[in-house]
Amino acid sequence: MRITEIQRFCMHDGPGIRTTVFFKGCPLRCRWCHNPETQRPGQEIMYHSVRCIGCGACVSACPNGCHAIGPEGLHVFERSGCIGCGSCVSACPANALEAAMREMTADEVLSEVLKDNAFYGAEGGVTLSGGEPLMQGGEALELLRKCKAAGVNTAVETSGFFDPSLIPSLAQCVDLLLWDYKDAVDGRLREWTGAADRLDVRNLIACDSLGIPSVLRCIMVSGVNIDAARAEGISSLFARLNNCRYVELLPYHPFGGSKQAALGREVTSDDSFIPSEQELADFSAILAANGTMLSMQRRR
């Protein structure tokens, strides 16, 4: 399976201590994406200019001459010829060049996940995230099954845009779905994420009807999706679900911007997306008035 990162000791990707496995590849192109390196399915080389010491190790390592050190010691990365072989990554002593992806087998991932088994307890475990982990559906299910067999609690963080035929199998091996419910307003969803339809809602209802517990995680992007229409949409969806525990609001952050730059892409991350306290409070108030359970209400 194609993985960007396995992050241990995650406290907020589901209950307890979790190991989060980030899958590469996503059907959506959210302009606020926090993990742009997980969008495209294939290998990409990230270049972090602040780490570069201009040593030129990459120049001699690259078989296609993609790297050059300019006249003022400035590193130039010509991506058009890059085949993602990773020779420059191995050579770079400063980790300025980084491969976004590694291929791993389910057993390899499992052995990483099991390293923290002593910390999971009854609640903690593994969370598959991304990207859209269910875009690599077969691989994701294989990993989930292996984790379940090893007694590890499983969660999947999903956009909801995945092949519905996975759902019956998913119900057998996932303990919690962290559902990124990006917008309730259809046209706006299409405009900002590229989603063609409401596959996410259909899948969610199907999962819910099979009894899979879920949490609605709602990204809050100022000037984009924070309005009464969306709040009402969240409440009405929440009310339809029998197994959704609560709604969590996740304020946008500009973390993705520097990664877009490192990937050599246009930076669409924008500080103006950051919601104000007031926007969040007003939005929460609508949800609360509708009787929608919010994450903070379950906290002491």
């Binding site: 992050q7 000791f9 995650c10 406290m11 002593p93 609640e123 903690g124 952050h253 911007g257």
Partner: protein, 749 residues
């Protein structure tokens, strides 16, 4: 609500909270501290943490003995006894407004760890620390019982070389009583004006002279002994306060003699009075660490769980006041009550690092493995810091050294070795040479203690050489009076000098870096590498970066490097064990730096794992800053691969977490999970620090030193240093919004 039994309501620690107080204590943003104590007690805490009583000690630094006739011709014990007598007679008596416990260590020089008495402008006697005194005997026998024992001892040893100590024991008890009498008199006066002191007066008329009859008397009795020891300049630890006090509280709750809330008030005063030496100002390592740790939870000598109402009341007090004294360590095990874990986590996440944890499953096994009887092993506490000892009968000190200096200066001869590649043709030859040098150093370190003993003509061990008088402490260490030997001269049951290896992670990382770069990957020849290190990486920045970034070091759960840590620690423990001669001291191994990595930094050379000369490197048994790239669970895993059953006096692990990381129910559960994992993987001692804005600023400037700092980003957490500048700024901004109050600053051991 007389005698409300908390067992009737599991959540009593939560329900008797009230709203609002005029006094607030440092709280990380996003958290709140409960208000349960009376406003009067909170005021007392506020003032004490605000240095009021610490500054009071500046008024009288020490008792002057210049006018004592013939002082210079007195014997050491006579000088000591006279000094203690005059201290008892003359030290200012301080009764604080509203205090529930009386007795105070009011002489400033005691805070500098000396007997606070001077002759011709000089203090004359050193004092003791790194021990936990015995408080069980004062609780059960009272001073009267101790006096009978001391007088019997004097009778027995009259005319022998033990007489001066035996006489000093009786004299010191006289002085203790003189000092107590002055408090009784002062309280009589105070009570005439203010009835609030009547209870203190009643207590002090009975204890510590006689055995304690109630919870309140028991707390006063422990406090009186503690305060007297500190008055005489010593810095004792308290030990297992819940084990000592639990039965008194249980009895009083059942009869209604005290309520749960009243008991909390009394214990709070114990903590607040414990802050009487906090003076504020810049003390380098902090102004509130006088080795006065206490220990809660765990099993007793018979193997029964100790955790009781006192345990939870202690946690209540720390939770509410964010109080840095007494630093508290919770003994956890696989069988710890669920509520103990939860309450420990709840208090820990309020920051300050005041609460740390032991894994008693491992520690008891370690101690019995080293030869301690099971009953004593089960009673372990510490030396007032975190080094494990059997409280009340252990003469303890530790012998710190820098293991990295041995590698750099001895084994690698300051990186100047003719024909280095021939000398060390493979990694095994290098690491073996280091192990030999380490063992030789340990032998040198421990061999110095032969001077402490007297030997017969055939080399047989006769006993200890006299050291300086230390009778006050000796009175409260089991075995001393009985044997007629002081604390420093063989009196206690256990006599420990524990070599403590420092710089462990950096030694291990250096060896691993050499293994990989020179022997496995053959990036560079040994002689070339040593020359580069000698030059402090001059013109070798790419190699330095490569060494920093391309290998994973101790603390990142890499089996290959962790195996080197295990090997070095095993060699070290073997070398320590080899020093045990069957008499005198024993030399169990331990791992620490405390703050010494700062002192060592200027004397260390560049290190092969990419470190430049002068960098401040690893603390205790923790990873080198910046190498802990996989988060806290990986650190615990690496640490637990060390042979911790060989580190008899302890190996400390420091974990720092952001407040945002442990917020909410998820964060609390994660913290509990971290503690559980620490226990089940076989950790020894862990101090979790929940850190705040100032640390974040530093992390921004020196990201390489703060790899483990995790922050809540939004719906997940990320390591702070992996965030970009804008985000770091925002997170710092959030952290800085916290309450601007003092306190909560726990000093790590």
């Amino acid at each position: 609500m007389p005698g409300m039994n908390p067992e009737l309501n599991e959540d009593l620690n939560y329900i008797d909270e009230r709203e609002g107080s005029a006094y607030s204590f440092y709280t990380p943003k996003g958290f709140s501290r409960p208000v349960r104590l009376s406003e009067e007690t909170r005021r007392f805490a506020y003032e004490s943490l605000g240095h009021k009583y610490g500054l009071d000690t500046r008024k009288t630094d020490a008792i002057v003995l210049d006018d004592e006739p013939g002082f210079e011709s007195l014997s050491p014990y006579e000088k000591y006894d006279l000094a203690v007598r005059r201290i008892a007679e003359k030290a200012p008596v301080r009764i604080c407004e509203g205090e529930k416990l009386s007795g105070a260590a009011t002489l400033g020089a005691a805070i500098r760890h000396v007997v606070p008495a001077t002759y011709k402008g000089q203090t004359i006697l050193p004092s003791l620390s790194h021990l936990t005194a015995d408080f069980d005997r004062i609780l059960t026998m009272g001073l009267g019982g101790l006096r009978a024992e001391a007088e019997e001892s004097l009778e027995r040893y009259k005319g022998t070389e033990k007489e001066p100590f035996a006489r000093s024991a009786v004299n010191t008890l006289d002085s203790f009583e003189i000092w107590l009498e002055r408090y009784v008199n002062a309280l009589e006066e105070a009570s005439a004006k203010d009835q609030c002191f009547a209870a203190n007066l009643n207590n002090l008329r009975h204890v510590p002279y006689r055995p304690a009859r109630s919870f309140y008397e028991a707390v006063q009795s422990i406090w009186a002994e503690f305060a007297f020891l500190r008055l005489c300049g010593n810095w004792p630890g308290i030990g297992r306060i819940d084990r000592m006090l639990g039965k008194y509280l249980e009895a009083d709750l059942s009869t209604g003699a005290v309520t749960y809330g009243e008991a909390r008030e009394i214990l709070a005063h114990f903590f607040i009075k414990g802050c009487e030496w906090i003076c504020g100002g810049d003390y380098g390592s902090g102004d509130a660490q006088h080795y006065q740790n206490l220990v809660i939870g765990g099993i007793d000598a018979e193997g029964r769980e100790v955790t009781n109402d006192v345990t939870y009341l202690v946690l209540d007090v720390i939770e509410e006041l964010g109080i840095s004294d007494f630093p508290t360590t919770v003994r956890l095990s696989a069988n710890s009550p669920e509520k103990l874990l939860k309450r420990t986590a709840e208090v820990t996440r309020l920051g300050g690092g005041t609460v740390a944890v032991y894994n008693e499953d491992l520690i008891i096994e370690t101690l019995t493995g080293y030869g301690y009887p099971l009953k004593d092993a089960r009673e372990f506490a510490n030396d007032g810091c975190w080094e494990v000892q059997v409280p009340g009968t252990t003469d303890f000190s530790y012998l710190p050294f820098d293991s990295l200096a041995i590698l750099q200066q001895t084994t690698l001869n300051n990186y100047d070795i003719e024909g280095a590649g021939t000398r060390f043709p493979d990694f095994e030859s290098l690491i073996s040479a280091y192990e030999s040098d380490l063992a030789a150093y340990v032998e040198l370190l421990c061999g110095g203690f032969n001077a402490a003993y007297r030997f017969g003509t055939d080399g047989e061990f006769l006993g200890w050489n006299p050291v300086f008088p230390c009778t006050a402490v000796s009175l409260f260490e089991r075995g001393c009076v009985e044997r007629g030997l002081s604390y420093l001269e063989g009196g206690p049951e256990y006599r420990i000098r524990s070599p403590h290896i420092g710089g462990l992670a950096d030694t291990v990382n250096s060896l691993y870096a050499l293994k990989k770069a020179v022997y496995d990957d053959k990036l560079v020849r040994l002689d070339e590498f040593l020359a580069i290190l000698r030059s402090n990486w001059e013109d070798s920045e790419p190699l330095r970066r490569y060494m920093l970034n391309k290998y994973t070091y101790y603390g990142a759960d890499n089996d290959e490097v962790d195996a080197i840590a295990a090997r070095i620690l095993t060699s070290f423990a073997d070398a320590c064990d080899a020093q045990n001669k069957g008499y005198g001291y024993r030399f169990p191994a331990g791992v620490s730096t405390f703050g010494r990595q700062l002192e060592w930094a200027p004397h260390r050379l560049a290190a092969p794992h990419g470190r430049k000369k002068g960098e401040v490197l690893a603390a205790n048994c923790s990873p080198t800053p910046g190498t802990d790239t996989q988060g806290a669970t990986a650190i615990v895993r690496s640490y637990c691969k060390c042979p911790l059953k060989r580190t008899v006096t302890g190996a400390a692990l420091d974990i720092r977490l952001m407040p945002s990381c442990v917020s909410g129910e998820d964060g609390l559960n994660a913290l509990i999970g971290l503690m559980r994992g620490f226990v089940s993987l076989g950790g020894f001692f862990m101090q979790i620090d929940v850190v705040d804005a100032a640390i974040l600023h530093d992390a921004q400037e020196h990201p390489e030193e703060h790899q483990t700092l995790s922050v809540r980003v939004s719906g997940w957490n990320a390591r702070f240093v992996t965030l970009n500048k804008e985000w770091q700024d925002m997170v710092i901004g959030q952290a800085e919004g916290g309450d601007k109050t003092f306190g909560g600053c726990g000093q790590c051991g």
